[in-house]
Structure formats: C-alpha cells, structure tokens
Symmetry: C2
Subunit: 687 residues, 2 copies
Amino acid sequence: MRASTAQAGRQALNSYKTLLRQSLPQHRFYSSAPLRPSKSTLAPLSRSAFRHQAPSPCSAARGNLSLRQIRFASTDKPGKSGSRVLRGLYRSLAWLGIFVVVSGGLVVAFFIYDATTYHEEPESVDIPISELALNPRRGGPKNLPIAEHMVDDDESDEKKGQKHKPKLVVLGTGWGSIALLKNLNPDEYHVTIVSPSNYFLFTPMLPSATVGTLELRSLVEPVRRIIKNVGGHFLRAEAVDIEFSEKLIEVASVDTEGNRQHFYLPYDKLVVGVGSITNPHGVKGLEHCHFLKDITDARLIRNRINKNLEKACLPTTPDEERKRLLSFVISGGGPTGVEFAAELYDMLNEDLCRFYPRILRNEISVHVIQSRTHILNTYDEALSKYAEARFAHDQVNVMTNSRVQEVKEDRIIFSQKTDKGIETKEIPMGFCLWSTGVSQTPFSQTLAAKLSNQNNRHALETDTHLRLAGTPLGDVYAIGDCSTVQNNVSDHIMTFLRTLAWEKGKEPQEMQMSFSDWRLVARKVKHRFPQAADHLKRLDKLFQEYDKDQSGTLDYGELSELLKQIDSKLTSLPATAQRAHQQGLYLARKLNKLAQAREGLMRNEIDAGDLDDAVYKPFEYRHMGSLAYIGNAAIFDFNGLNFGGGLLAVYLWRSVYFAQSVSLRTRILLAMDWSKRALFGRDLVSY
Amino acid sequence: MRASTAQAGRQALNSYKTLLRQSLPQHRFYSSAPLRPSKSTLAPLSRSAFRHQAPSPCSAARGNLSLRQIRFASTDKPGKSGSRVLRGLYRSLAWLGIFVVVSGGLVVAFFIYDATTYHEEPESVDIPISELALNPRRGGPKNLPIAEHMVDDDESDEKKGQKHKPKLVVLGTGWGSIALLKNLNPDEYHVTIVSPSNYFLFTPMLPSATVGTLELRSLVEPVRRIIKNVGGHFLRAEAVDIEFSEKLIEVASVDTEGNRQHFYLPYDKLVVGVGSITNPHGVKGLEHCHFLKDITDARLIRNRINKNLEKACLPTTPDEERKRLLSFVISGGGPTGVEFAAELYDMLNEDLCRFYPRILRNEISVHVIQSRTHILNTYDEALSKYAEARFAHDQVNVMTNSRVQEVKEDRIIFSQKTDKGIETKEIPMGFCLWSTGVSQTPFSQTLAAKLSNQNNRHALETDTHLRLAGTPLGDVYAIGDCSTVQNNVSDHIMTFLRTLAWEKGKEPQEMQMSFSDWRLVARKVKHRFPQAADHLKRLDKLFQEYDKDQSGTLDYGELSELLKQIDSKLTSLPATAQRAHQQGLYLARKLNKLAQAREGLMRNEIDAGDLDDAVYKPFEYRHMGSLAYIGNAAIFDFNGLNFGGGLLAVYLWRSVYFAQSVSLRTRILLAMDWSKRALFGRDLVSY
C-alpha cells in the first residue's frame, strides 16, 4: 500500500514538473533542471541556456568560469526588466506546487489508510468460556456471588496465561490508577479495574471545558483503551466495602433499570484510588451550587452559563434580574476556582460581545470568594499577587478573608474579615461554583471506620510504602486524593532515640547528642521520611539554632523542640494530580519488582516480613512545581523559579499539559480544540 | 504580520539549504545550486563540480555538450556503486525537508494568527437602550408584556437602521428557518428568531453521532452565529399561541428555576417552522424507548448503549440477561432507523471487538421492525432490496410487515403478517429506538384548532405560496415538517372545468374534451401545482389510457377518473430536510422580493390583493434524490439514477453531506471527526 502511494506521489510530482517546464519560458530553468536528464526536456533546455553564451565560446575552457558566466548572463540580462520579480514569482509558485503535491499525497495516503480501517465481515467465532464465569459460586460473609473468573479469561492465549497470576484489583480510574496501569509490566498480574466511570479524566484542564475552550471528549481517555496494554479487565461498578480477612471487595453494580446488584471480587493485591468528593464545609444551600470534579459537572456548568446568558437577553427580564443572572460567584480561590474564573472571563470577553447583545457584557460580574488572605495561597506570594493584579485588571472581583455562610437560590451570604471586624455581606448571584477543597468519599469513610490505625478525618492513612494502615502487610495500598502518607516523624524519631539511649545505657532525658550523633539521626530520618529531607538540609545551622545553651550538644528538650518544628513544617502531601501520578508510578514499579522477586521468594519459602521494604525504597514525593492559568496569562511556581506572564506563558502552560496528556489521541484532540477556538471561537450551544 | 512570516519562512528555508549543502558531498549539488549565487557557496561548488571535466577541457566549446558531459560525468562515474540510491535518498530528504519547512512556516503563521485572537482589554462602554426594551408595556387579550423592542435595538447604527423595518419573526431553528435566514437580504427586516434550542442541528448525520463516529458538537451550529449575517435577534423561548388578529405571538420562557413566563412578541410577517414530534402511533410503553430527533437524544442513546455493554461484561450478569442487554431493537425501517442500525453495526463490528470481551460480539443482535414490505420504502425498490441484502450479510435481522403492539421494560411485542396470517411475536430487548414517522407538535395542534381551513391531522396546511391557510393573506407562512402544501388538485381542476363548460355554454357532465383541450388544462394544472408535473409528463399516453371508449375525447366521467388517479399519486411532500431547506430558500427569495417591492407598492397605495403571487412564483418542490448509509455501504436514489455500493459510495455519501453542511466550521469539524475515527476508532466513553 505504502509503495503504491509513494509511486503515485512521485508520478504526480514528475508530471507537475514537466508541466511547469513546458509552460514557463525555458531559458529560466536551465539551472534547476533535473539531475537525471530526460532527452525530451534536456536538449532544448541546454540549447537555450547556452545561447546566451555564444559570443565567447572559448571562455568555457575553465569550467567554473563558464558556469558563472552562464548564470550571470541569465540573471543580469539587459532589456528584461522585472525578471527578478517574475522569477521570484515562478519559484514561489513552484514551491507552492511542491507543497500542494506533497500535502495532496499525504491526504491520499490518509484516505487509503482510512479505507483499511473498515471491517467488512462480521467476526463471530466460538469463544471458550469457563462455567464459573457464567455461574459464579456464592460465599463470603454476606453469601454474595464471588467473581473469581471473568468472561474473557479464556478467550485468548494471552488472557489464559494471566488467568492464574496473582489478582491485582485497582479501585478507581484517576491519575494514580492510570499511572499505575500504564507502567505495570504486562503478564505479571491478573489485573481488574473497578470504577463507576469508564474513563480517565485529565482534571487540570477541566475548567477549560466549562466554557467550550476545550471539548469534553478531548479530556477523557476510555479506560478500556488504557488497560489493553496490561490485558486488564474493567468492571463498571462501585466498591462499597472490603472484607480484609477474606480478601474480598464488595462491589455494587447498577443495572439499566436502576437496581443495585452486589457481588464479591477477590484480590491478592488491592490498590485503593477512589479519590475524593467536594468538601461542603457544613455550608447550607449547596444544592444551588455547581461543582467541578467530573466531566458531567463541566457539561452542566456550560449549559447553565448559556441558559443564564439567553435568559438575560429576553426583553421581559427586568434589569435587576439580568444583573443577578449575570453575577457569577466562585467560592474558593484555589487553582480550580481561579482557572474557572479566568476561563469564564475569557469567554465573556472574547466571544460574548461578538454574538450577544452588548448590554450583557456591561452587566456581567465575576466574584471570587476566598477564605485566606490571598488567592492561590499554595503558590509563592508574589505569584498570588500577580494573579490578583491580573484579576483586578480584568474586573474580576476578588474577596479575600471571606467565608461563605449560606447559599440561597438567588444570592450568596458570606462574612468578610476587615479592619473593622467581621462583616456579613451578600451578593445576588445567578451561578455559583463551589470549589473549596476535598473530603472523604463514603467508601473511604467505611474503610477508615473499619480499620484500627486510621486517625485522619480527611483521608486514608498509609505508611511510606503506601500500604493502607491497619491492613495485612502488603495486601492493600492506597494512592491519590483518598490517601495521605503518615508523617508523625517526631514520634518515630523519639522511639528511635529511646533505643539509642537504651543502647548507651542512659535515660533518654539525660542523653546529650553531639553533632555527629545528630548527623546520624538526620540521615536515618531522611531515609525513612523522604519528604522531610528538604527541612534537614543545613544540619549545622539547625544544630546551632536549637543548641540554645551553646553547649555543643543537644539535650532531650532541645531535640524535641527541633523535631516538633520540622513536623509542623511537614504538612501532608497536597491532594494534586501530581502526587497521585507519582504514587501510581511508584506503585507500578514496586509491583513489577515484587512480581520479579516472587519466584525467588517462593523458592526460598519466604512469605513473611516486609517484602515491600526489601524490594523497593519508600515513596518519595518530588514536587515538580505548580502552574495556573489566570486569563490570557499564566503563572509558574517551579520550586523557587517563579514567573508569570502573558500569551507566551499561556502557550508554555498549554505545552506542559499537552506533554503530560495521557495519549496521542488526547494530544491531537487538544491541538484540534485550540485551533478550533482560534478559528471559530468557543461555541455557545447548550443541550 | 504576513510579510514578516513569509520572510521568516524564507530565511528558514535558506538556512536549511545552506545546511544541506555544507553537510552533504558537494559535487552532487552543482546542478541544483541557487539561481542567484552567493559567493561563499558558489565558488567551491562549481570548482568541485567541474573537477570531473578536467580531462577534456576543450569539449566545452559547445556549451550544450559540456553541460551534458558534466551531468553524465557525475551520474555514471565508475567506481561509485550505489550512488543512485544515495542520490535518491538525498533528494527524498531534501523534499521532506522542504515539506517540513513549509509546514513549519504554516504552523508558525497559525500561532501568530492565534495570538491575535485573544483580547486583552475588557470592553465595557455605555450602550444606549430604550426604556421600552427594559420595561415593556402590557396589552393584548391576556394583558401580557409586549416585547416591541429588544435590548440591543439601539446598540449600533446597523441595528438602529433595522429598528423600524417590518418585524419578521421566525419560529424554530430547523432546516427551513436556517435556509431562510442564510438567504435573506440583510437590512430589509427586523428579524427575530424564537426557539427553545439555540442551535441548528444537521439532522441527516444524527445517527452517526449516536455511536461516536461523529461528535455531537460537529453537527450543531449556534443560531447566534447564523443570525449575525442578518443582524437578527434570538430569543430562547417557546411559542405557545398566536393572536392572528392582533399579530401577536404568545411566547413562554422558562427561567433557571423552572418558572414559566409568558409575553407577547409582535410581528408583521411570521414564519412557522416549529417542526414535528415523533409519532407514537398509539403504542403503549414508549417510555422504555429512545427517540432520535435531537442532539440530547443522541447523547442519551450513546450513554445507554455503553451502559448495556458494560453491564454485559460484569461477571454476575446471567447469560440470558446478557443476551437481552445486547439485543438492540429499532422500530421503523425509514432512513433514520436504517442508518442508526448501520452505525450501530459498524461500531459493534469495528470497535467493540478491540476493547470488550469477545463474547459480547457473539451475543449481540440487532433487529429492525418495519411495517411495510421493505425497509427504506420511499426509495427505489432495487435499493431497498440492496439494503436488505446488505443487512442480511451483516446479520442485522430485518422483520418486515410487522407492527409493534407494545413495548415492555425488557421486551417488545409485535405482530407480523406472514403467509399463515398475523402472528404475535416478542423479542427480549435491552435497547429500543422508536423512529416511526412524525406527528404534530402541541403548538401546531393549537394553531390548527384555531384556524378554519385546517383539515389535515398531520400537519398545518398551506397554499402553494406557503401561506398558512385560514390566516390573513401574507401574514403567516409555514415551512418544514410542521406544514404541508395543500394538494386537492382534482377539486381545483373540477372548478376550473365547470368554468370552462360554462363558457362553452354546456353542462359540465355533457362536455367532451379533445386532446388539445386536455393539453391546455394540463398546462394550467402544472403551473398551479408544480408537484403534479411529474405525473403529467406523457399527456398522450394518459389521454389514450383513460379514453376508454376510444372516442378521441374525454368525457366528464373519464376525466374525473384520470384526475383522481393523479391526486392519489400526489402524496403530500415528504417531511425531509430537503423539502424544508427548499421552502426556506423559497421564502427568503420571496421576502427579499416583497421588501424590494415594498416602496413601490406604498407609493401606489397598493396594500391588498395577492402580493405574493404578484412578486414571485408558487413554491415548487424539486426532489434532488435520496441517499442513505447502510453500514460500510451507501445507496443513492437520484431521480432514476439509482446505485448502491461499498466504501467509495460511503465516501460519496460523506461528500454530499460535507458539501451541504451549514458552515465552514462544521465542515472542518466533520473532517476532524472522520480522521479521528480512522486514527483512534470511536470513543467508548459515556457520561
């Protein structure tokens, strides 16, 4: 197929060249004649080319000279004005022609490829299928069906090979799960993914989808595409509980009539990556708000904005009501809230004026309510201020130090801390986005209540190997927003110090620690709690600072003070896509190593002990930086390299996400969407 | 901007050439050296080129010979094997390089263009707005607000100029309305469009959107984009009634909280293009069916298919239930039903097998229930049979002569007429599409009940000038699916004949009509009822056929028989996009002519009489042919030129719709979608 296309292209090219040669004055083309001369064209060409040279035939004795003369004779020929322009024109045409031919060839090639993608014959062959997959046995504490076999376990040799591998079950299809699936070695595990949504969502660009800068489908990748790599199985269902002792997950599926069916799914290794839900902060009236966690949310927001705009155009809408409809309130000044405000502003500023009555633009207001002193408070303060200045320029009203008290159908009531004390205010609103942090899903709460070592109200606690605390070692992992890595550093170190004191035969309280002791301790801390490393860089400085009595040693009191200080600085890891991605990647690598080590361990009959620690290092989070879009401008916070800027920064912002995008497919779709916006603007259709 | 881009491109090209020259063996490049030599490159190039010629310097006395020798010296140089291949490689590289540079230039140019599409400064200027637009006066039979002025009537000089033009109101945004809006002269009318949906939907390709071959947004064009051309106003609202005597439309808008607000919209000319709804045919249980009229329907179908597939993959789904879930039933064998079945089959055949357990493919069944003897019964019979053969090959089960009796949650009950009589059958089903023709919207029913001359249960009757029967002449038009052109040809002709007999002083019953009389009558019929023309082509044959007593004349009885026959053949015009489009186009032209004639008529104080007939001919439907997609094949019925075929026909089918598509925007989106399908398949995500 390819050969024939190339040949066709070449033929087209040749015939085009011949055409050009025949149609244009011949003497201009002698020096771009083809390398391999064809008799029909060469003879007249060279004859006409050398006609100019006739007056001095002998000067051609030195070849290079003759060629030069030929050239100049043609170039500077007197009496032919404008030949330069003409030649330029011809050459441009030739280039254009070449471009058109090459492009045309590519298009033809694409059509030929396209034609091969249609299947004529219906494929229908007998598929072997085990009886247990069709009629699973019942069992477990609730006597539910146990899905030990899948319907496609026997359909191919590849699948048959996996059938008896350890069962790895992944709950959720977010950043963590997808990073895990994409980096897992195929054929080491029998992989099953359980999730109520059958796609991975590229969350960082979700705000762009709310106003049509990007299309919804450009941000999602079907899970079944992703699991093809590891030959995994996907079950569209929801995990509701886990029986840790019997290694069974209770899963509920909802059928098309809305009935729930429960069954058990057995696992050997389980990864919990179920994410989080929006934090309501105990505020009343959130049913009047929109959220932005999922693709459906984006669609609903898009429709709602559109409905408000259309309603505001009706001649019977009173002016007061119009202002209310066009008052957009964003509660929460984190990245999601800020980026949504920015995208909304862009849409209103760039697209609204072109198609809607202009009065709308005048009556629109965008408000951001932020509880902290700055928006984007996890970023460098200079960047927060840059973003605030940008918003001020864009007439986006930022209210800091403010807390929402209640959301009513048509207005939002909030308290603002000012110099005069706390004031209660209200804004009429036609649309409210609630984006104020995350909290646990009901499933996570169920797990936390069931396990002994879970003390964090906000997330499932894991150790530094990402193993869910309180579960049998090496069975269950938790990654992403639903989890947090335990970081009670000082407790651990105190235990360690007590052991050290015991070895030296002293009471811990009486122990004096020299600088070399301290260095040793710090090294162990760094190994065990990688995220503490940043705070243990200048050991000498820390030692001096906390050695208050200048004794050259730290006593127990001084050391406790130092460790508490470090502990307080170690906030829990941020609930970001970045962290989830790194955890998924880490877990994939560890699971690969565990699979490779499996045979050796079995041979040596090792089946206890801290295998995770034996095969791989603890998880270490590396903050790669943050970035945010703030309306025709973007800000970057790359570990100290902070900058913000206009359009070039926006292109950079896009490039970063373009590169991180999950597949070639989504990348092409993103590029298409951006082009579409440039060519046609955002589309203003709601359905 | 353009100049600088071109310059940058040229520079890049030049530097690329220089690079190539420097990096490749120099003697190969003497003949493609630039026309305008730069000293730095020319000298060494020509020297090396002519080095080969050194043994016979005098043969250069005749220029053409020397050049030939130079070429051959290089080409056939002995001792250098494989040089041809190498040269080919170099040339390919050069072409590739040129292509890359030109493409790169285009990309850069696009980015520069893109950068100009972002607006930095918020635009906010004072907009004049009339008091009446903000506080409309109340009036009319129900004392509702009357929207005489729009909020954007005064915002620009262009809009101000239209403010006092005759008010043209268009109800609906379907094929008819859009054709009208796209062809109306700007500045002749004050145009207002009223519709509950703010987009035009390209209905013929809607089946493709149900399985993800096309994206939903590629089929819609925002109305506000379309009306920009005529400076129109769009109100997202629903017409509920018309007060013909006061020229007021009662319009209801639904606010974001779901409350309905009614108001009056005044008109001078009104076009009713509100379309139709699906015909329930009195069948029970349609709440278990999906429909395919709107973009939301397509989204819901897509989600439902996906849910069924996912449910069928669950290990706890019994095999019987799996078969039910995968049984897709289409009720109605018209174009919509057939194309949906075809698209569904394509998706199942091409995409399902790649990502879902293969057992699904085996257990899937697609059924088409058709009440007539063939599917696609409006097409040529050969094409219907071709489509049926195609479906048989694709294992799509077509059941003709069958009528659905009832739709239950999990099965469909229908009666089939066979040789043995009528049998009642049932099929278990997991999905049912109901696409069995159209019926009137509630709004059309309201109008029909209100008007005296409306006798058609299925549509609003208009005369051949598309004026709604029973309304004041020239006020109200109806186009598209909601309307039908009255075609009681024989009644009209009988009246005409009576007049003719009267003139001749005879009783109509006694009149004998010669062939020349008949030809005269036929010509008048053709003029008045263009759609009858097809049936009046072979006048001599008709005359002979109905002149039963071979008298050479038709008596009254014979003539009545002939006319009745023609009348019965004249079914009402098909409810297709094609008819609506032609009607919209026709009306736009007439309204343009009426506007142009307005001044003259006013000067001559003519304000009564059949103005429509005076300025423009009656509406004439020209059937351009039908086409349908039938699953990797397509059929065409172009007025006698009937053919069907495989992939090439599919490309032709696409080309036709591509050409008919409403805007450049949708065309580019269609092309993108088709490419996407070829590259990545249909996406299988539901939300």
